[in-house]
C-alpha cells in the first residue's frame, strides 16, 4: 500500500512540476494533440493505474495461475512428467492443475514468494531446504510413519530440517564412474589403476584425456568432494542430531588435506584439469575422447544419443585412503508456506506422489533411482542402470542442506582449482579456504 501510494504521489508531483513548466512554443491555432494521444498507447500513467494493455498484444491471457486449483513450478526437464501426473490427479479429484516451467526454480521462487506470487508446489533438490526454511517459505508436510518407512531412509533424512519434515522425495542422484566399455573393458578398483589405464589410452592415441571430471577455472566442490570423503575429510562435521554443523568446519582437517593432495597429484598427471568444465566434460566422453567420466544420471541421454557403449561403476578407491564416496542429492516436492491452495497441494504431495505408480512415472525424469523402495524395485527390474547408480551412491553422505553451504561453494571451489592447477600447495590452500569459509559464515 505504502509503496503504491508513494509511487503515485511521486508520479503526480513530477507531472505537476513538469506541467507547470510547460507552455512556450505553442503557436498553432488549433491543437491536434489528440491525434497523438489517441493513436499511440492511450495516455495513461502511474504504476497502479498503469496504461491500458495494447490490446493487440494480449493474444490470450496465459495467466492460468488465478483459475488453477494447484500451481506447480518445475524445470523444463521434469515438467512433462509432472504434468502427466498432475493431469491424473486433477481428473481423479476434479481440480485444475497448472504446471509451469521456470528456468531457475530456486531463484524465481524466492522472488515470487517475496511478492506474494508463489506457486503452491515447487520441485527441486534437497539442498535448498535450509534456505527455504530460513525464509519461512516452505510448509511442513506430515508423512505418517507407515508411509515414510516405505522410502529410502536417506531420502527421508533429506526432507528433514531441525527434525521437521518438509518435503516428499522422488529420486536420489549421485556421481558414479561412467566408463566407455570399448576403450576400457574393466572397471578400475583404484584411482591409480584408472589413471594408469587412462594414460595408456592417451599414449596410444585412443583417447586425448585420462579422466573427464568437471573442475573449471573456479573449481567444482560437488565433483571434487569424493576425494575428500575418501580420505575421511569433508566440509562440515555433524551435530548430535546428525545434522551438519556450520560451526564445525573440517575443510582443513587431515583427511581433507590428504584428499586435496590427491587432487594435486592427479593435476600433475593431467588426470584432473581446470580446462575441463561443465561445458566440455560430457562432450569429451560422448565423443570418445576419454574412457572415464565422473558424472551423474543426467549425462546419460547425451551418451546414448552419441551411441557410446558405457558402464556405470562405483567410484574407485584412493591408495592410502578409502573408497571415494559421492554426495547424495535428493529431488523432491516442496509445498509453499503461502500456498493459495494449501489443501490441494498437501493432498497432492502426501497422498498422491507417495504412490508407487507416481514414483515410477517420476523415474522418467532423468532416470534417477526412485526414493520409494517399491518403485525402485519395480524400475530396477527393467532398467539395469538403476541398481548401478544406487550401488555407486552406497555409503554416500547427503549434500549439506544448511544455508551455510552457500558460503562454501566459492572458496572451496577456488581452492580445488588452485590445487589442481598446481598454483597452490594443498595444506596451505585448504587452511586458507577454511578461514575464508568461516569468515563468510560468521558474516551471516
Amino acid at each position: 500500500m505504502i509503496k503504491r501510494t508513494l509511487a503515485v504521489a511521486l508520479a503526480s508531483a513530477t507531472a505537476v512540476t513538469l506541467a507547470g513548466c510547460g507552455g512556450g512554443s505553442s503557436s498553432g491555432k488549433n491543437s491536434a494533440d489528440g491525434t497523438k494521444a489517441g493513436s499511440s498507447a492511450p495516455a495513461k500513467s502511474g504504476k497502479s493505474s498503469a496504461a491500458a494493455a495494447p490490446t493487440a498484444v494480449s493474444t490470450k491471457n496465459p495467466s492460468r495461475d488465478k483459475n488453477a486449483d494447484l500451481v506447480i513450478w518445475a524445470d523444463a526437464t521434469s515438467a512433462p512428467y509432472i504434468k502427466q501426473l498432475a493431469t491424473q490427479f486433477g481428473k481423479a479429484n476434479g481440480v485444475k492443475v497448472a504446471v509451469q516451467i521456470s528456468s531457475d526454480v530456486r531463484g524465481q521462487y524466492g522472488t515470487a514468494f517475496k511478492a506474494g506470487q508463489a506457486p503452491d508446489v515447487i520441485v527441486g533438490a534437497h539442498d535448498w531446504l535450509g534456505e527455504l526454511v530460513t525464509n519461512g517459505s516452505v510448509a511442513p508436510v506430515q508423512l505418517p510413519a507407515k508411509v515414510a518407512s516405505g522410502f529410502n531412509p536417506k531420502a527421508i533424512a533429506a526432507t528433514k530440517y531441525n527434525n521437521q519434515t518438509y518435503a516428499v522425495p522422488y529420486g536420489v542422484e549421485n556421481l558414479a564412474l561412467v566408463r566407455n566399455t570399448k576403450l576400457a573393458p574393466n572397471a578400475p578398483k583404484t584411482l591409480d589403476e584408472l589413471v594408469a589405464n587412462g594414460k595408456k589410452l592417451v599414449a596410444g592415441k585412443k583417447a586425448t584425456t585420462v579422466l573427464s571430471n568437471q573442475v573449471g577455472k573456479t573449481g567444482n566442490p560437488y565433483n571434487g568432494y569424493p576425494w575428500l570423503s575418501a580420505c575421511g575429510g569433508g566440509i562440515f562435521g555433524t551435530k548430535s542430531n546428525g545434522q551438519y554443523d556450520p560451526n564445525k568446519l573440517i575443510v582443513d582437517s587431515a583427511g581433507s588435506v590428504k584428499g586435496a593432495s590427491s587432487w594435486a597429484a592427479m593435476g600433475k598427471q593431467h588426470a584432473l584439469s581446470t580446462n575441463i568444465d561443465d561445458k566440455n566434460a560430457d562432450t569429451l566422453f560422448a565423443s570418445g575422447k576419454t574412457a572415464y567420466e565422473i558424472t551423474g544420471p543426467w549425462s546419460i541421454p547425451a551418451f546414448k544419443k552419441a551411441g557410446i557403449k558405457y558402464a556405470i561403476d562405483p567410484l574407485p578407491s584412493i591408495a592410502g585412503c578409502g573408497a571415494m564416496k559421492p554426495f547424495l542429492g535428493v529431488q523432491m516436492f516442496y509445498v509453499s508456506s503461502k500456498a493459495k491452495n494449501a489443501t490441494v497441494a498437501q493432498t497432492f504431495v502426501t497422498s498422491f506422489l507417495t504412490t508407487k505408480s507416481a514414483q515410477e512415472t517420476l523415474f522418467k525424469v532423468g532416470q534417477r533411482p526412485p526414493a520409494l523402495t517399491a518403485a525402485y524395485d519395480a524400475v530396477a527390474k527393467t532398467d539395469p542402470d538403476v541398481a548401478k547408480w544406487a550401488a555407486a551412491g552406497k555409503g554416500g553422505q547427503l549434500m549439506p542442506n544448511i544455508p551455510a553451504m552457500n558460503s562454501v561453494w566459492g572458496p572451496l571451489g577456488q581452492a580445488e582449482a588452485d590445487i589442481v592447477s598446481g598454483k597452490s600447495a594443498p595444506k596451505a590452500r585448504m587452511t586458507a579456504a577454511q578461514k575464508e569459509i568461516a569468515a563468510n559464515i560468521a558474516k551471516g
Partner: protein, 527 residues
Amino acid sequence: MAVSTETSSSVIGSSPARTPVWALALKWVAIAAALLLALYVASKLADHGHTLAVVGTAFVAMCVLVIYGTRRAVPMKYLFVGLALLIGLQVWPIVYTAMTAFTNYGQGHLASKEDATAQDIAYSVRQVPGSPTYTLTVAVKDGTSTVAGPLYFLLVDEKGHTFVGDAKGLNQLGKNGLTIDAGKITKAEGYTTLNLLQANKRKDLSSFAVPTDGGGGIKASGFAAAYNGKPTLVWDKKADTITDTTTKQVYVAEGAQWVPQSGKGDALPVGWKENVGLANFRTLFTNSTIRDGFLGIFAWNIAFSVLSVLTTFVLGMLLALLLNDSRIKGRGIYRSLLILPYAIPVFVSALVWASMFNQQFGLINNLTHLNIDWFGSPWAARAAVLITNLWLGFPYMFVVCTGALQSLPGDVMEAAKIDGAGAWRTLRSITTPLLLVAVGPLLIASFAFNFNNFGLIYLLTKGGPFTGGNSQLGSTDLLITYAYRLALGGTNPNYGLAGAVAIIIFIIVGLLSFPGFLRSKALEEVN
C-alpha cells in the same frame, strides 16, 4: 503511430492550415477513452480497497485532461506518456531498491516479526508422541453451507475407531449411518462431506484444529489425513520471549532473530525484517576486504568500461564509414552479416566464447597454436573479456553510426572535399566531431552500461581468475560482480546490502560521467 499522411501534402501549402474536424474529434474520443479507462481502474482499485491509489488515478486522469484537453503545456503533450512510464516502471523500482538499503531485508529476514514468529512456531509443530494418525473426511453439518458452516472432522484411526471432531473437542462417533470405504468415511448421516475442491476453498481449514488433551490439536494433513500435532514453541508476547516446551530453552529477540538467552544452541530459523539505518553503508565502508580490494577493482572497472566503449565505437564507426559508399555492391548483405553478433542472444555468445577460450580444447589456442591459459591468468583473462565484448558490442556502434552518418550535412562534406582536404583530415576534423555530437551521449550511456556489465563478466569468468589464495577479489571483477558476490553470495543473501551497493555504484558512475555531461552540454550548444 497511424497518423494520416493524406493531409501532409497540403501542410506546407499556402493556405492557412487548419486542424481538420476529424482530428479534433479523434483527439476528444481518445481523451474520453483515457478518462473512462481511469474510471475503470479507479473502480477496480476501490474494490481492492486501495483508497490512495484511487486518488492517484484521479490525479493522473486530471493531468491527461489538463495536458491534452487544453492548449497549455505543449511540451508535456509530448513527454507525458513516456515520463509516466519512466517514473512508474524505472524510477519507482530504483527508489524501492534504494529504500531497502536501510533495512536488513534478505534471506531469513523477509517478513514482519509477527509473521516470522508465527512461521517459527508453525515449524515447531510435531506429532504428539504415541498419538494415532487418522484418515480424514472434512464435513459440515447438514443444512449448513459448505463454504461457511462450522467444520467437522470425521476421523478413522489406525485401529478402525471412528471419531468426530469440532472446534470444541474430539468425540466417539457411532458406526451407524457411516459408510466407510478403504478405511475412510465417505458418507455420514447428518453431515455433508466436502470434496477436495470445496475443502480447498475453506481457507480456515489450515488453521483449524480439534483440541486434544495436553494442548495438542488434530490438524488436517492435506484433505484425506489428519494427525495430532502440537507446537513446541510458545510465544510470551508480554515478555517478548519464546520458550521451547520440550527443551525449556528460552529465546529472546536480538538482531532481528530469536536467539537462545543462554547463548548456547541455534537461533530459530526465521528472522524478520527491520530498519537498520545506515548499518549496511557502515559495513561497506569498514569491511577490510572491500577496502583492500576496492582500488584494484575500481581501476580495472574503469579501464574495462573505457576500453570497451572505445574499441567498439572505433570499430563500429570505421565499418560504418567503410560501407557508407553507394558504389559498394552488396552493402545490404554486408551490413546484415556484420550485425549478426548483435542478433545472437548474449548468453549464447558468452557460452561460445568461453568454449573458444578454453586453454586445452578451445578453438583460439588450437588455431593459433598458442597455449595461453585465457581464463587462468589475470591479463589474458582481461584481454579475453575485452575481445569478447568488442565482438558483442561493435555491431551496436555500427548500427548507431550508420544511422547517425545520414545526418551529416552533405554540403559540408562536399565543401571539405573541394577544399582539398584529404580523407584522413575529413575524418578527423569533420566526420568524427559531427558524429560525436549525435552519438556522444550514447557513448556515455554505453560507458554506464559497461561499467555495470554484470552479465558479460558473470557468464564468461565469474570475476576470475582469483589469485592470492582467496575467492573474493577476482582479476576481472567489476564493482557490480564483486558487490553481488559480497551481498548475495554469502550464507544469507542480503538485499539490503545489495541496495546500499547499488546506491554507491550509482553515485560513482554518476560522478565519473559528469565530465561527459559537461562536454555534451558544450556540444549541444553548437546547435
